[in-house]
Symmetry: C2
Subunit: 132 residues, 2 copies
DNA sequence: CTTGACCTTCCAGCGGCTGGAAGCTCAATA
DNA sequence: TATTGAGCTTCCAGCCGCTGGAAGGTCAAG
């Protein structure tokens, strides 16, 4: 299977797969007589694995760790679980940050008349606020 | 006031201020006889403005628009409000995405024994799932 | 036998900084 | 006065995770 098909099956761009190979996230694919990369069923598992993990927000660094657990027949599922829990925790941190930003903006928006006059508490806040 | 002091007052790094000048987000600062950038009170307002807007998650592109409204004596506060509302909306989209990721991960984590055995529904899902 | 889609490599750029090198100036100290 | 050391200047490179484009080889269909 050529890279284009593999990409389609895995939900990735061909370019992305080459990039992953480049940075050593995945092993170099086998090559056909014409020099084209050739992907088999297990390669597809790996590619899907990466696209799924990336899609769930794991960094490429995390994906390296996850892949090495995936390949390790003697892994402990606890290690995988720990990575997933870390990921959940960092998502929750991010969500909290974003909600706080949204709340701040909402307060400002509420106080802004939103008409054709120039007076604007949002701009005033931006320019004048001293935020610790 | 030199760039270091201005940076401290505005809550930015000196490097960041030079960068903002470089990309034309802020106007080039006045220069002293020694060639050092020299910042005054109004410059500080602008710098704080940018750090506050960036801190609230506005992109540099957004900051350009916000700054031009800030400088426009004939602005309509409605335009500012609209930008802020857009920003809130995009935060909410992001939060929803993240919560969905966390939920998916939580389901997987729940099903993982998290012991010293290799069997792991998380890894299984990653490698085998066909997610539309 | 040509078209056009696919494949290959390599290099450049996105956003938004951040770090480092090399060389100024300036204020304080020995 | 001579010298630190901090702070300023410029410029170039790198971070992440791709993505786009150029220049070229290969393949299947018409």
């Amino acid at each position: 299977m050529n890279i284009g098909q593999a990409a389609a099956q895995a939900g990735l761009h061909a370019k992305t797969i080459r990039y992953y190979e480049d940075i050593g996230l995945i092993l170099p694919a086998a090559r056909g007589a014409n020099g084209y990369r050739d992907y088999g069923v297990e390669d597809l598992h790996v590619l899907r694995f990466v696209q799924r993990a990336r899609g769930l927000g794991f960094s490429v660094r995390d994906c390296r760790d996850l892949l090495s657990l995936y390949h390790d027949r003697n892994r402990a599922s606890a290690d995988v679980k720990a990575l997933a829990e870390q990921r959940i925790a960092s998502i929750e941190v991010k969500v909290a940050e974003l909600r706080s930003l949204a709340a701040t903006l909402s307060h400002l928006v509420e106080r802004c008349a939103g008409d054709d006059r120039p007076d604007c508490p949002i701009l005033d806040d931006f320019a004048e606020a001293h935020h610790a």
